[in-house]
């Protein structure tokens, strides 16, 4: 007989206290769009300095969670704690302070069509200045030093360096996004996300639509960035090969909740029926055998209470 659904339970500790282990903590987040109850009490911990992957079926709300992590969406209920600070009640003005910790690579890179590649890459630097500028107030006067902004020559040099790091030719600098391939756009998007030296990088389905070789290149790029810069990475994906190739921690979203959150090895031993089917169907990841009577049945997604079915 199948057991009832079990959700992943977060550790029993105060999530508002900044933690060395966890960079972002999500507690009880709910979100409804009209009659669609997309998130129904999400609990999630993002490991600091690791590659965290959130997997789930299409339309389950993975991108919705990601937008919540950066404050692009506000939940109907719940907390989202970044280094112990709840970002849900913050105003737009104060959210910008938190967002400087983040960088994001969108599914189709979201490069600015009216700017060339060089301008796209250095855009955050033009707006915000040198991320390494010392902004510590003077102890005597209390004044915050003026932020340093780069010269045109410095910006050009930075753009060239970023392209080199991501194995892109310099000839791309004067091209526009429409002239690049999908894989090139993603790398430029990543270059733009990295210039401000973020502590947290979000990737929205980074390998969707790419051929297998490009997929592996993007995976390697993500792993290298994570290791070299010590960045906390959060990836939304339904590409199981990539997930198990580079993920340090995998969280599974189903029916508006995180049902499992563990290392790849532990995930392969999951008792959730749906998750076993989801991963097993890919054919790239062998699942550890589990007796039928120990499997957990997960309820199908439903609509908001009171809504017409």
């Amino acid at each position: 007989m199948l057991q009832t659904r079990l959700e992943w339970q977060p550790p029993d500790e105060d999530a508002t206290v900044p933690s060395e282990e966890w960079h972002i903590r999500v507690r009880g987040v709910q979100k409804t769009f009209g009659v669609h109850h997309v998130l129904r009490g999400v609990n999630l911990d993002i490991a600091r300095g690791k590659i965290n992957v959130i997997i789930g079926g299409s339309g389950q709300g993975k991108s919705v969670i990601m937008k919540h992590l950066m404050g692009l969406l506000k939940p109907d209920k719940g907390q989202i704690l970044v280094d112990g600070e709840d970002i849900v009640p913050l105003s737009d003005y104060n959210l910008n302070r938190v967002r400087r910790k983040f960088g994001m690579l969108f599914q189709y890179a979201a490069l600015f069509d009216s700017l060339n590649i060089e301008e796209n890459i250095v855009f955050p630097l033009v707006e915000h200045g040198d991320p390494d500028s010392d902004q510590t107030p003077d102890p005597k006067t209390g004044k915050v030093p003026k932020k340093r902004f780069f010269s045109r020559a410095e910006l050009h040099k930075i753009a060239v360096t970023q392209l080199d790091k991501l194995a892109l030719p310099q000839v791309l600098l004067q091209k526009f996004p429409a002239e690049l391939s999908g894989g090139q756009r993603k790398r430029v998007g990543l270059a733009r996300a990295l210039v401000m030296k973020p502590k947290i990088l979000l990737y929205d389905e980074p390998t969707t639509g790419l051929d297998p070789v490009s997929t592996k290149n993007v995976d390697d790029m993500i792993r290298d960035v994570s290791r070299e810069h010590g960045v906390t990475s959060v990836i939304i994906s339904h590409d199981m090969a990539s997930t198990f190739r580079i993920g340090d921690r995998i969280s599974s979203l189903y029916s508006g909740r995180i049902i499992e959150s563990a290392s790849p090895q532990q995930i392969q031993q999951t008792r959730h029926r749906w998750l076993r089917e989801f991963i097993g169907t890919s054919g790239v990841v062998p699942m550890a055998p589990v007796p039928e009577d120990q499997l957990i049945a997960d309820d199908p997604p439903d609509v908001a209470p009171g809504a017409k079915r």
Binding site: M70, L72, R99, M104, F106, F112, D113, E127, H128, L202
Partner: protein
């Protein structure tokens, strides 16, 4: 049972217009909230002068050729019609004065706004709509840049500044068109044309037109930006947003024109209302 039938009948009769009215009120509220947000973010640093100048070039400078062309022909056709009609009363000498009044008070601000809306408004709605559906606006937010401050504030400020400037040029070139037709074609004496124009027109007429131009410039850019910024549904959604931006601007400008004219004439108690 009969009550349900009455309710159903009433809903079918009054439902659509009431829902349309509700939609209009919601739209008005949304635009007023956006205007308030634009004002709040416009006074906060950083002040992006380069982005503002770019918007001013797009809305103002690049609309100049079409505004000048239209103003020339509007002035000319108005003079043609008026001189022909006034000749009946042997009053064709007042063509210049009448065209001047019509241009400064009504034609210049309204036509300029319509031209700018059709050209720049449609362009802004399309650009912002495309940015929305390709997540470029979200990308701005993720870079800790307020998209409203970066995208909408410069456009609204630019529209508010440039439409009055274009309107003034419309006045001048429109009068030139009227002069060419009146004096060159309709044989109105040029001295009489100019003297009557100077006699009838006063600064109040020009001010009226300029105030309208400021309001129209702000409103049409606000509508265009709002529609584009909130576009959804892919390429079709962008098209819908652009259409709504242009049609919405046209209708709003014409409605506002009536009420502003009524208020202005009431306030200044002009003899023209007699």
């Amino acid at each position: 049972m009969w009550l349900e039938r009455v309710a159903s009948w009433a809903d079918r009769l009054w439902g659509p217009p009431l829902r349309a009215l509700q939609g209009l009120v919601e739209q008005l509220g949304a635009h007023l909230l956006l205007l308030w947000s634009v004002f709040r973010w416009a006074i906060r640093p950083p002040y992006r002068l380069a982005v503002l100048l770019e918007a001013m070039v797009f809305i103002g400078f690049e609309s100049l050729p079409i505004v000048l062309l239209i103003s020339l022909f509007v002035g000319a056709v108005f003079a043609l019609q008026l001189s022909s009609a006034l000749r009946t009363f042997r009053a064709e000498a007042f063509t210049g004065a009448t065209v001047g009044l019509a241009l400064t008070r009504e034609l210049a601000p309204v036509f300029t706004s319509i031209v700018v809306s059709a050209r720049a408004g449609a362009g802004m709605a399309t650009e912002l709509g495309s940015m929305r559906i390709t997540e470029q606006i979200d990308a701005l937010a993720t870079m800790a840049i307020n998209p409203l401050q970066y995208l909408i504030v410069p456009r609204v400020v630019a529209g508010t500044l440039m439409v009055p400037m274009l309107t003034m040029l419309f006045n001048c070139v429109g009068m030139l068109g009227a002069y060419i037709v009146s004096v060159g074609v309709q044989n109105v004496d040029k001295g009489v044309f100019l003297a009557n124009a100077r006699w009838l027109l006063d600064p109040n007429d020009i001010t009226q037109g300029m105030v309208k131009a400021v309001v129209f410039g702000c409103v049409l850019t606000l509508i265009a930006c709002n529609q584009g910024y909130n576009a959804s549904g892919g390429a079709k959604g962008v098209g819908v947003a652009t259409t709504r931006a242009v049609v919405g601007s046209f209708v709003t400008v014409l409605i506002l024109d009536y009420f502003m004219t009524d208020m202005w004439l009431t306030f200044f108690n002009r003899a023209a209302r007699g």
